[in-house]
Each structure stands twice: as C-alpha cells, then as structure tokens.
C-alpha cells in the first residue's frame, strides 16, 4: 500500500473504464449497448477527474466531522481540491442529459425501423 | 514615265499575255493529244472558243452574284498581271513593271484568291452541287499547295531580305548561277513540286476533272461568262508561270525570254500530268504534306541557324 495509493488506483480504474467505454462505443452494433458504452466512458472520465483532484490523506471538501478527523486545523488544507468534485457533479448532470437524449433517440429509431442495429440507419450517406 | 505611257504599256502587255496564254494552252493540248496518238486541236482553237462563247445569243443569269462571278475572276487575272513586274529592264519604273509598285509578293499571294473566291461564289448561286463539289475540292487542295509554296516564298524573302518581286528578280541577274534555283535549292525544289498543284494539271486536276462528269465552277457558266473565264484562265496560267519564273528562274529581261521560260514552266506541269494519273483529294493533300512540305520547311530552317 506504500506505492499504490487510492489516487493511483482510481486513476487506473478511470482509464480502464474509459477504454472499455471506447471499446463498447466503437464495436457494439446494438444502439443500447453503444449508449451503455457511453455511460461507462462518462463514468471513467468522472473517476479520472476526481482522482486527479485527490490528495493523499485528505477528505472530501464537505465541511462536516470528517474534516475534523483529518487533524488539520485549516479547512482548506484538510480537504482535497474541491474544483474537480464540482466539475464531476456538472459532468454527471450533463452525462445524464446526453444519455437521456440518446435513449429517447433509441426509442424513436426503434419505432421507425423495428431494429436497434446501428448499421441499418444509413439513409443519409456519401 | 507618265501615267498614260504606263497605261499604254500595261494594256499592250496584257494583250501579249492574254494571247500568249491562249496559244500556250493550245500548244499544251496539242502536245497532250500527240502523246496520246491523236491529232489534237488546231492552234487557233482557243480564239475560236472565245469568239464562239461571247457571241452566243442566249445569255442566262441566276442572280447578281452569278452575274458578277466572272467579273471577279477576270479582275483577279488582270489584277495579278497589274501587280506583277513582267520584264526586267533595270529600273523599277521600267515599261513592263505595270503597277507592281503598289504592293509586293504578299499582295500577289493574297490577290491570287480574289478571282477564285468570286468565281466560287458566282458558281454557287447557280445552285448546282457539282460546282460546289469542285470548289470544296479546289479549296482543300489549294490549302495543301499553299503551305509549301508559302514556306518557299518566305525562304526566298529571307534570302534576299525583301518581299519585293522586283528586287528578287534584280538580285538574280548576272548569270544562271544567280538564280534562286541554284542559290536556294530547297525553296526552288519546294516551288517546283508545289507548282504542279498551283497550275492544276493532272495528277492534281480533280477540281476540274475534265475526263469524268464535268464538275467545278466552269460547269455553271456558258456564253459570254465562259468567254470571260477562258480569258481569265489564259491570263492566270501565264501569270502563275511568270510568278515562278520571277521567283526562281531569274525573271525575264525580254518578252522572248518570258515566253520561253513561262512555256517551260508550264510545260513541266503538263509533262508530269501526261505521266501520272489523277489523285483523289485526300491523296493530293497528303502528297503535298510530304516531300514538298519537307522541302519547304528545310528551305526555311536553313535560314534559322
């Protein structure tokens, strides 16, 4: 545990999830699976964001008991960087919106052609 | 020389040329006939033809262009004579230089077409397709002939640094070795070959084609018109021979010399015509684009280096 701290683990997981997400997005033919791929991708990015703001031994930037337990007197010194955390919140909201829109599209597409194969939706090309 | 004397000499000269043209034509016919084992026409035949033609009672016309076609033709013949220095007497203002001071070789080259054009238009109004057929053939062959000729003319102009026919003749005086024939052999050779086409005897006479269905502009004309055209033809034959004589064969210092030289030049084309059968147009065009054109190009190229 000396060399692999929480920040590195989450960074690694974040990248891994991003790669998995890309793999899903680029290889799966089913639209729903592609959307799932995007969700994984987004999650990976979010984990990445949080882990980049992580500072070893510090707590979440929420002023509650946990802050006191770190033993620092200065609040700003006892918490991790708050900005990435804020960003993640926003990113999650946006990801939610995008996913919702995608799913709405998936529904409409399915209604139109009774299929979810992405290959089938190439009316517009060249 | 005052203008009246000039006019008198010119008219006299024209009469000589016209009658020499008739006589020369008859002679050539005669030679041709004898070679074919026939007796041939009498020497006076061209004059008989002329008088017969201009005294026919019926004269028809298809319209104004038809009517003035022969006028164009004869004007072309006479004009060529007027712009040509005939006999070299040592002065550009001599008695037989006609009105050659008004222009030069380029004028002759282009005025040459004046009569052809008028005749072609006149015959065209007659409406007979054979006339038009003859003209298309004639124009096509004319173009092919003119290319080597023009190159040779250019070569001679380069050689003497002038377009003036008078000066070209002057430069060739002083012995046979001063003739362009020897001083500029390529140009001379090109002219001698291309001349066959210009004079229009077999093998280059499909334009008139006297042995087949008679075609060409002459089919359209009879009577007085034909008389005009025969006069023009006689004049043109002499004038073309004189042109080549002036350019290649040293010109003439007397009428006798002119008559002899023009006869020989003209005879050359008749002679070839006796030997070779008639070409189709594509054959004659390609023929001129081979050796004569090559000679013409050579004649010019030698002056480029």
């Amino acid at each position: 545990m000396e060399y692999i701290d929480l920040g590195h683990i989450s960074l690694l997981i974040g990248f891994l999830l991003i790669l998995v997400g890309f793999w899903g997005v680029l290889t799966q033919k089913n639209i729903i699976k592609i959307i799932v791929g995007f969700s994984i991708l987004n999650t990976g990015i979010n984990i990445l964001i949080v882990s980049l703001g992580y500072v070893k031994g510090k707590t979440a930037p929420i002023i509650d008991n946990a802050v006191a337990q770190t033993g620092y007197h200065d609040v700003s010194a006892s918490v991790v960087d708050p900005v990435p955390q804020a960003l993640v919140l926003t990113a999650i909201v946006i990801g939610f919106g995008v996913t919702a829109l995608m799913l709405a599209y998936a529904m409409k597409l399915y209604k139109a052609k009774k299929t979810l194969e992405i290959n089938k939706f190439n009316d517009l090309k060249w | 020389m005052n203008i009246y004397a000039k006019l008198a000499y010119t008219i006299l000269g024209f009469l000589i040329v016209l009658n020499w043209g008739f006589l020369m034509g008859a002679t050539m016919r005669k030679i041709g006939a004898r070679m074919a084992g026939r007796h041939g026409i009498p020497f006076k035949q061209p004059w008989i033809n002329l008088f017969k033609s201009i005294s026919t009672r019926t004269v028809i016309t298809h319209g104004i262009m038809y009517y003035i076609g022969p006028v164009f033709r004869l004007t072309g013949g006479i004009g060529l004579f007027l712009f040509m220095p005939m006999v070299f007497t040592g002065s550009p203002d001599g008695p037989w230089t006609n009105f050659s001071f008004e222009g030069d070789l380029i004028l002759i080259m282009y005025f040459n077409v004046f009569g052809m054009l008028g005749m072609a238009l006149g015959a065209g109004e007659g409406g007979h397709p054979y006339a038009a057929m003859g003209i298309t053939r004639g124009l096509a062959q004319h173009a092919a002939v003119e290319l080597p000729l023009t190159l040779a003319f250019l070569s001679i102009a380069i050689q003497f640094d002038t377009f003036s026919i008078y000066k070209i003749v002057e430069a060739q005086q002083g012995g046979i070795m001063h003739w362009v024939l020897f001083t500029n052999p390529f140009a001379a050779a090109a002219i001698i070959l291309a001349m066959l086409g210009a004079l229009g005897h077999s093998p280059f006479n499909l334009v008139k084609a006297p042995n087949e269905i008679l075609i060409g502009p002459a089919t359209e004309y009879e009577g007085t018109y034909l008389g005009f055209m025969m006069s023009a033809g006689a004049t043109l034959h002499v004038m073309e021979a004189v042109l080549f004589m002036n350019l290649v064969f040293g010109g003439a210092t007397s009428w006798l010399e002119l008559i002899v030289k023009s006869f020989l030049i003209y005879f050359w084309s008749v002679f070839v015509g006796m030997v070779f059968p008639r070409f189709k147009i594509e054959q004659s065009v390609t023929w001129f684009f081979k050796v004569p054109l090559l000679l013409g190009v050579l004649a010019v190229i030698i002056f480029m280096f």
């Binding site: 995008v98 992405i118 939706f121 | -």
Partner: protein, 1043 residues
C-alpha cells in the same frame, strides 16, 4: 448599456416563461421567443456599435460575486459583440423562418431553440474552459433535439449520429480540460495562457485534447460524416441556423482557445483547414442532393476560415478583415441557400429548374452563389483578394494553390447547380409555394450581402463611388425589368452613351485604352441596337449585359490591380449570364464559368506575386515584378488566355458563342474576347515591351498563338453549325492576335492591333448577320439553309464583305493584317510559326466559303421560300460596321498611323514609313488606297464590258434546272455542307482529334472518380463516423505530438 449577462438571462427567462405561459397558445409563445431573440440581438448590437463607432473598451462580467478563478467570467469585446450579433441575428431570422415548424413541434421546441442560442452565446463570451464545455454540450443537446423538427427516419438517423459524434468529442474535451486544470490549477482561459500550459511537461497532451475536440466541432474533413448528415437531414431552416450561428460560434471558440495552444499549433490548424477546404469541395462535386452539397460547401468554408485563422500571425492586422469578409459572405449566403432549399423543396439538383417559375428566386440564388464563390461586389471577393495578396507576399504559395483549387471545386458544383436552375427542363415540375415569413429572412440576407459588399469595399481602392455607378445602373435596369424591350434598350444605349461621354476625358491621350474602350463601348452600343429586333420584355437580359460592359469598362479604367480584378470578375459574371441565356447553353455556360474562374485565379495569383515587394497596388506594379517574375507573367498570361481561348483553354468557346442568342454572340465574340487581348497587352508591356527579358515566355506564347490559329481555323472548316463555325473562327483569329503580340516587335504589335480592330469589325458583322439569319430561319445548321441570297440580299452582301475582309484578300482591310504579319515574321525570324499562321489563313478560305455558300448560295429550301430580309435593327449596326471596314480599307493610314504612334511608345524601333498612303517597311511596300483604286477600276471595266455584252440576260428561276433527274433519298447528302471537305478531312483528320477536350474530360473524370471513391468513406453508419473521429485524433496526434 445592457450588460451581456442579460443575453443569458433573457433566454433563460423567456424559456421559463414559456413553460408557464404556454396556455396562451403556441403563437403567443412563438412571439415571445422572437421577442426574446430580438432583445438578445439588440444587446449584441448595442455593444457592437459601441465598439465599432464609439470607444468602448472590452468588459468582463463576473458571476457569483467572485473573481476568477473562483468564478466564471464572461468577456464582451469587439469580436465577441460582433459574433454574438451574428449568432443572435441568424437566430432571429431562423426563428422567423421556422416559426411554423417550431410551433408545430410545441412550446418545448421553442424553448430548446432559445436554449441553443443561449448556449452559443455563452460559448462565445465565456472565458472559463469548463463553462465552455458545459455550454457546448448544452447547445449540442439542443441541436440534436432540434434536428427532430424534420419528421422521418432520415432526420432521426442524422440526429443520433450527431449526438454520438459530439459525445465522443466532448469526452475528449473533458479529459483535456481536467488535465489542463491538473497542470495549471485554473479553469480560466486567461489563467491558462498565463501559466503557459503547452510549455508545461505533459501539458501538451492536455492542449492536444482540448484543441482536437474544438477542431472536431468544426467538422474537419474527413471526420465529418455526422455534420453532413445534420445538414442534409434536418429542417432546411435549421440547417441554415447551424451553418450560420453554430458554425460561427465554434469558429470563434477555436480562435479563442488557440491562445492557450500557442503558435506551434497554428500551422496544424491551417493544415487541417486546407485539407478540409479542398477535401469537402472535391467531394461536393459528386453530390446530387442539394442539401448535402450545401453541407459540403459549409464545411469547406469553415475549413477555409480555419486555414486563415492558422495564419493569423502572418496575416497580422489584415486577419479580422479577411475573416470578416469570408465569414459574413458564408454566413449570409449559405443561410440564404439553405432557406431557399427549404422553400423550393427539391432534393435533386436537377429539380431546381422549378425555381424559374418565380424568377426573383433565381436572382436570390444567383446572389448567394456568386457571393460564396467570391465575386464582386460581395465581401468574400475583397477578403479573398486580400488573403491571396498577403499569403503570396509572405511566400506561402502552396497555400494559395490549395485555396484556389478548393474554391475552383466549389465553383464547379455550385455553378453546375445554378446551371440546372437556369436552364433545366421545368414544365413537368410542380410550382412551389411561398410563405411570407420564409421569404423575409432570405431577402434580408440577400440585401445584407450587397450592403456588406459595399461596406467591405470601403476599405479598399474599389471603395470609390465610380466603381459602383455602373452597378447602380445594373440595379436600375433590374428594377425596370418588367418594361418592354424597346424602353429598356433605349435606356441601356443612352446609359452607355452617357457613360462613354463621361469617361472619355479620363482616357483622352491614352490611345491603347481608347482603342479597347472604343471596341467595348461603341461595339456594345451597336450590338445593343440589334436588341430592338426583340419583342416582349426579354427578362433579365439588360442587367446582365450592362454588368458585362461595366466590367469591361472597369478593366480599362482600373488604376489599381484590385480595380482591374474587380472589373474582370464583374465582366465574367455578366458574360456568364449572357452566354447561358442561349437555348442549349447550360453545359457551355458551365465550362465558360469554370475556365473563367480558373483564369481569374491564375490572374489573382499572378497579381499577388506582382504585389510582392511593392508598396502599392497601382497598375504599374506589373511593369516591375520583382519576385519570381517568370511565374507571375506566366500566370497572368495564362489567366488572360482563358478569355482569348488559346488552344488548350478554348473548349468553352464554340458552344458558348455558338449557342448564344443572336445579338449576344457578337457581344461575347467580337467584344468580350478583346478583354483577354487587353490583358495580354498589359502583361507584355509589363514584361518590358522592347526590352523584354522573358524571351522564352514570349516565344512559347508565339507558338501557342500560331497553333491556336491553326487549330481554330481547321476545326471551323468541319463545323456544320454556322455559329459554331464562326466561334471556331474566333479562336483562330484570336490566335493571330496573340501570335502578333508575342513577337514583341513594332510590326508584330501593329499587325496584332490591326487584327484587334479588324476582328472586332468583321466578326461583329458576321455574327450579327448570321445571328439575324438564324432568327429568321430558325436553325443553326448550314445544311438546312441555302439560297438565301434570293431572300436576303443585304445580309448576303454583308457576309460577303465580312468574309473577304476576314480572309485577307485585297483590297479589303484584312489584307492590312496579313501584310504586316509577313513583314513582322520576316523581321522577327519566326519562320515556322509564320508558315503555320499563313497556312491557317489559307484554311480560313474553306470555312468562309462554306459559310457563305451553304447559307446564301445553292438551292433555296422549300420552307425558306417566304422568309424575309433580316431585321432592320440588325442591318443598322451591320452596315455601320461595314462602313468602318470600308474606311479602314480605303484609308488604312488613318488607323495604322495613330496605332503606330501608340505602339512606338513601347517599340520605337522598326516603324513603318508612310509615304502618303503607301506603307514602306524594310522588306516591301503596300499602298492600300492605290490597290483599292486599281482593283476597283479593273473590276468596273470588266463589269461594264460584261454588261454591254449581255444586255439580254435571261433570268433563270430555281426550278428551271433539272436536278439529276432523281429525287434523292436523303436530301441532306446532296447538300454540299453535308460532310464538306471530306477529302481534306481524310487527309488531316489526325489534326482534328479533340485532344484538348479529351484531356479536360480526363481531368474531370479523375476528379469525379476521386470524389466518388472518397465519399464512400461516409458510409452513413454512425459508428463509422465515430471511428473516423478517433482515427482523426490518432493521426493528428501522431503528426503533432508524436512526430
């Protein structure tokens, strides 16, 4: 001053209000949306005018009461104000246009539309990069939603692909942002610039991620299939808004974010821009679907803007001007075209012929297309000019080539489309309906383009009022287009007369320009007189004819290279419209336009090189070109030769002149071609005239001229169409002129100029006469004519004089040129070329005879037995011109002496000596009037003699002649025009093989095949598009970082 935060507040407020107030009905909420956008536009305008006309300084808006980096800040600067103004104005017009579409989709759609605009506004103003990301996402989601305004699976597919692609892109952006934050500790753009992000170890990757995402938002080629689908699949009104507002915003974002990337990125941005510009326009030529084609064009234009942006350090102060010109033209024109495409509702290009049922739509479409290609007086013209000048000046020739090539491709498909619209069959097509709210925005942008053009011109030399007077006259004629021909013709002639009078004092003493101005103006007036023969209104003719003359006089009066180019392009535009008026002119109009544009670009490049190292744009800079002068003169001459139709560049001419209307052919042949000659003359003077150091160039030009003469004349012989015959003849004649000028001697120029004047006179006579005959008999085919001398003696005489003059037979004026030519050739030593020239002249006899014989001589056709003499309105100009020919023939010294004096300014050596009426050269002499008198006297003598001896000539009528006793099976085979000169053809067919046409066909095919092959990349599969994006990123990464 309303603070810019109110742009956001208004949008949000109105959005919420709509949610509450939608019980008042959708019309009410729609009105509310428009009111909100109007207010947003007003705020932007207020700021913009404060910056533009006042001395407002940029202002930051801080949110939440903190300073950055703790809070988000917005910046309202000059550019931000302008860009938000553009966005909001496009939003407003789009909102009006889509009023019903939005309404039918309900108030939610109206809210989403507002939110999209708000997102775009914030994208422009924000200085916080995460904020930028958020609002990019907001507008992306809004756009993806609004694509569904158009019903059907096509738009659904497009929307889904769009959201997939933008999600991938935003993923990269987000990763980039977080790394950027990690390295700099701030999200503020200014903070990142201060922290020198790209200089930090590892920061380069963060920069890469951000930059590539922003670039991908601009739909770079080839990772842009989703963008094309968006343009094609969504509502036309919405495509317009995306093209105008969204693309503009993304472009501005790029320019903003570029600052953190630093100058090492600029090159790559330009490179990606150039690839996009060339690639999309190349693929555009294969498009048959209008909307998709416009999409390609939009993406291409964005590529061009990227290219320019990458050069901003090099272009310096000029960057805003150039970007403004290109951006505003694209913004307005493309929106206008998308909007029209929504009204016309034709998917395929060919269906656009229907637009002619509402002619003013054709006018709008033309305005937009000419603005996109960069014709004057539109802003893009001035911007492209400045861009090329600056790029050439800084030695970036390869970029100029890319820009011009891409523009050329764009012109190919846009003008092909325009050609279908002008000339396609439209009887079977159903007319389209116009809704007033849809047409208003189109008119607004069309007027806007003209206003902006005028405004842009004020920053250049063309800004002077004089350059707009002819255009105003064109506008007047356009407004009066409903009047009958008689009135408009009189106005046009009066206008040209007045203008000639007005301009004469400026040109007095400059013989060179006077000659050409005389040909353009007097020739134009004479050709216009023939217009009285037309009936009805002749819609659209007069504005374009005057446009051409405006351009022609423009190049004469030009004091600067820009004015010259301005006039040149006006002339091209006008003549294009004139040419395409002919019945079967569509393909010829297109090839004319393409060759003209190609030529214009060569000209542009040449003038650009000429400007290198010079302080001014004055015309005389081409007299002293300092940088790669061989190239400069070569390009200039090549450009001019497209107009003179030198061999290789001539294939547009026969069709264009042959199919044009009867009085247009002389305008475009006798008159217009001289513009090219004028250009060649200027270039040759520039090359030093007598002290020409570019002998190889002149030598090549000489051969080119001689070969052109030969090819033109030879091809003319084998034409069966009278007007095409004359057209080929023009090619040949122009070859003579080029040949003469290329000799660069006094005599050569004298010969060339004598041909300029002669060709003007006799070609105008011939084209006018033949055109008038064609109007009477209704066919161009010579074998369908014959014997017309009986019906039209005056026309016959005119043609006869014309052909005698053309052929160079003495005593008419053509001989002047021949005589001068031989002397010049001998002096110069160009014997072989001279012989080719001479041979061409002999070939001319054949087509001239064919022309006059087959039309006027031979047998009169049954159906022409009652045709009338050609119109008096044609006879007047014809005989006026013939009078000119006669004067020239009788007194050549009247014309040649002043010409000689003019040429002596440039070539003092080797002048002719004049002895009264006799011209004496080194080699010979010639006396025009004496020859004329001699021949005339002989002719009259012979004629009188003939008349005396044939007093009783019997007039034979046509049917007195038997006709071989048989009625031929195929009557045309008995006509001499049918397969004429068969013998010559058999001998010389090799020389008639259309090598040049084959060459250009090959070029076209290669382009089309490349485009056809490459565009298969856009398989229509959304996943493939994402793959393209990933590949694009990988490749760019390898190039930029890995390389």
């Amino acid at each position: 001053m309303v603070t810019p935060i109110f742009i956001v507040a208004t949008a949000l407020g109105a959005g919420f209000a709509i949610g509450v107030l939608n019980k008042f009905g959708k019309n009410f909420t729609g009105g509310l949306v428009l009111a909100a956008i109007t207010f947003m536009t007003f705020i932007s305008y207020q700021w913009f005018s404060a910056f533009q006309f006042g001395d407002q300084t940029p202002e930051y808006v801080y949110t939440a009461g903190f300073m950055p980096p703790l809070s988000i800040n917005l910046l309202m600067g000059h550019y931000e104000a302008f860009v938000t103004l553009l966005i909001n104005f496009a939003g407003l017009l789009g909102g009006i246009y889509m009023f019903n579409s939005l309404k039918n989709r309900g108030s939610n759609a109206q809210v989403v539309y507002l939110i999209m605009l708000m997102g775009l506004n914030v994208m422009v103003m924000t200085r916080d990069i995460f904020n930028l990301f958020v609002f990019m996402e907001v507008s992306s989601i809004a756009i993806a939603g609004l694509i569904l305004l158009e019903k059907g699976t096509r738009s659904m597919g497009a929307g889904f692909k769009y959201i997939l692609a933008t999600s991938i892109i935003s993923g990269f952006l987000l990763i980039g942002i977080i790394f950027a934050y990690y390295f700099t500790g701030t999200l503020n753009l200014d903070g990142m610039i201060d922290a020198n992000l790209s200089g930090i170890k590892g920061g380069a990757v963060a920069v890469f991620m951000i930059m590539i995402a922003i670039i991908l938002e601009l739909k770079p080629f080839p990772a842009n299939g989703w963008g094309l689908d968006l343009y094609e699949g969504s509502n036309a009104g919405f495509s317009a808004v995306v093209s105008a507002a969204s693309a503009t915003a993304s472009f501005f974002v790029l320019s903003k974010v570029m600052d953190i990337a630093g100058p090492e990125w600029y090159y790559y941005i330009s490179l990606i821009g150039a690839v996009t510009f060339v690639g999309s326009n190349l693929l555009g030529i294969k498009q048959e679907n209008t909307r998709r084609m416009l999409g390609y064009s939009s993406i291409g234009q964005l590529g061009l803007l990227m290219l320019i942006l990458g050069f901003r350090d090099i272009l310096g102060d000029q960057t805003p001007y150039i970007v403004f010109g290109i951006l505003i033209s694209h913004y307005m024109a493309k929106a206008g075209l998308f909007w029209i495409s929504g009204i016309v509702k034709s998917k395929g290009l060919k269906g656009w012929a229907v637009i002619r049922k509402k002619p003013f739509f054709l006018f709008l479409m033309g305005t937009f297309i000419f603005a996109l290609i960069g014709f004057p007086p539109f802003p893009s013209f001035f911007a492209k000019w400045t861009l090329v000048m600056e790029l050439v000046k800084t030695g970036n020739m390869a970029w100029v080539v890319a820009i011009l090539f891409g523009s050329m491709m764009e012109a190919v498909y846009l003008f092909r489309w325009f050609g279908y619209a002008i000339k396609g069959e439209n009887e079977h097509l159903e007319d389209f309906k116009i809704e007033i709210h849809k047409i208003v925005p189109v008119w607004m942008v069309a007027i806007g383009l003209y206003v902006m053009g005028y405004f842009t011109a004020q920053f250049t030399e063309v800004g002077a009022e004089i350059n707009f007077i002819p255009l105003a006259f064109v506008g007047l004629l356009l407004a009066l287009d409903f009047l009958p021909v008689f009135v408009k013709n009189t106005i046009a002639i009066a206008g040209m007369l007045a203008y000639s009078y007005f301009i004469y004092p400026d040109l007095e003493g400059d013989t060179l320009r006077l000659i050409f101005e005389g040909i353009f103006m007097l020739g134009g007036i004479l050709a216009l007189i023939a217009g009285y023969a037309y009936k009805g209104t002749r819609a659209g003719f007069y504005p374009v004819a005057i446009l051409m003359y405006a351009g022609l006089t423009g190049i004469i009066e030009a004091k600067t290279t820009l004015e010259f180019f301005y006039g040149w392009e006006l002339m091209t535009a006008g003549s294009y419209f004139l040419i395409i008026r002919g019945k079967r002119s569509m393909p010829h109009g297109l090839s004319y336009m393409l060759f003209s544009i190609g030529g214009a670009y060569a000209l542009l490049a040449g003038l650009g090189i000429a400007h290198v190292g010079q302080d001014s744009f004055a015309m005389d800079i081409i007299n002293n070109i300092q940088y790669i002068p061989y190239w400069a003169y070569g390009l200039l001459i090549a450009g001019f030769l497209t107009k003179t139709a030198a061999v290789g560049l001539h294939i547009w001419l026969p069709g264009a002149h042959g199919e044009a209307e009867s009085d247009v052919s002389p305008m475009v042949s006798a008159i217009l071609l001289k513009a090219g000659v004028f250009g060649v003359v200027l270039a040759l003077i520039g090359m030093g005239a007598e002290n020409n150091q570019y002998t190889e160039l002149a030598y090549a030009l000489g051969w080119l001229g001689a070969i052109t003469a030969f090819v033109g004349n030879l091809m003319a012989i084998f034409q069966e169409d009278a007007k095409r015959l004359l057209a080929y003849s023009s090619i040949g004649q122009l070859g003579y002129i080029v040949f003469g000028l290329a000799m660069m001697t006094h005599l050569g120029w004298l010969a060339g100029f004598s041909y300029v004047i002669n060709h003007f006179l006799y070609k105008a006579v011939l084209f006018l006469t033949i055109g008038a005959v064609v109007m009477r008999v209704g066919t161009h085919n010579m074998y369908e004519m014959g014997g017309l001398i009986k019906r039209m003696p005056l026309a016959f005489v005119a043609v006869m004089i014309g052909i005698i003059a053309l052929s160079g037979v003495p005593p008419l004026s053509g001989f002047t040129g021949k005589w001068l030519f031989y002397n010049a050739v001998l002096e110069k030593g160009w014997y072989l070329q001279g012989a080719l020239f001479s041979f061409s002249g002999i070939l001319a006899f054949m087509y001239l005879w064919r022309l006059i014989h087959t039309v006027f001589l031979g047998q009169l056709k049954d159906n022409h037995r009652n045709v009338k003499e050609i119109s008096i309105w044609f006879l007047i100009p014809i005989y006026t011109l013939i009078a000119g020919l006669m004067v020239y023939a009788a007194k050549p010294e009247w014309i040649l002496q002043p010409l000689g004096n003019m040429i002596a300014q440039f070539f003092p050596d080797g002048q002719l000596i004049w002895d009264g009426g006799t011209a004496i050269s080194k080699y010979g002499q010639w006396s025009g009037s004496l020859i004329g008198m001699t021949i005339g006297a002989t002719f009259m003598t012979v004629l009188i003699w003939l008349m005396l001896s044939t007093r009783k000539a019997h007039k034979v009528k046509q049917f007195d002649i038997t006709y071989s006793g048989e009625r031929p099976e195929r009557p045309e085979t008995t006509h001499v025009a049918y397969n004429a000169f068969e013998g010559l053809y058999k001998a010389m067919w090799v020389a008639t093989i259309p090598l040049v046409e084959t060459f250009w066909d090959r070029v076209t095919n290669i382009l089309h095949d490349t485009a056809g092959f490459t565009r298969r990349l856009y398989s229509g599969n959304g996943q493939a598009y994402m793959l393209h994006i990933v590949f694009f990123i990988l490749i760019t990464y390898l190039v930029i970082i890995g390389g």
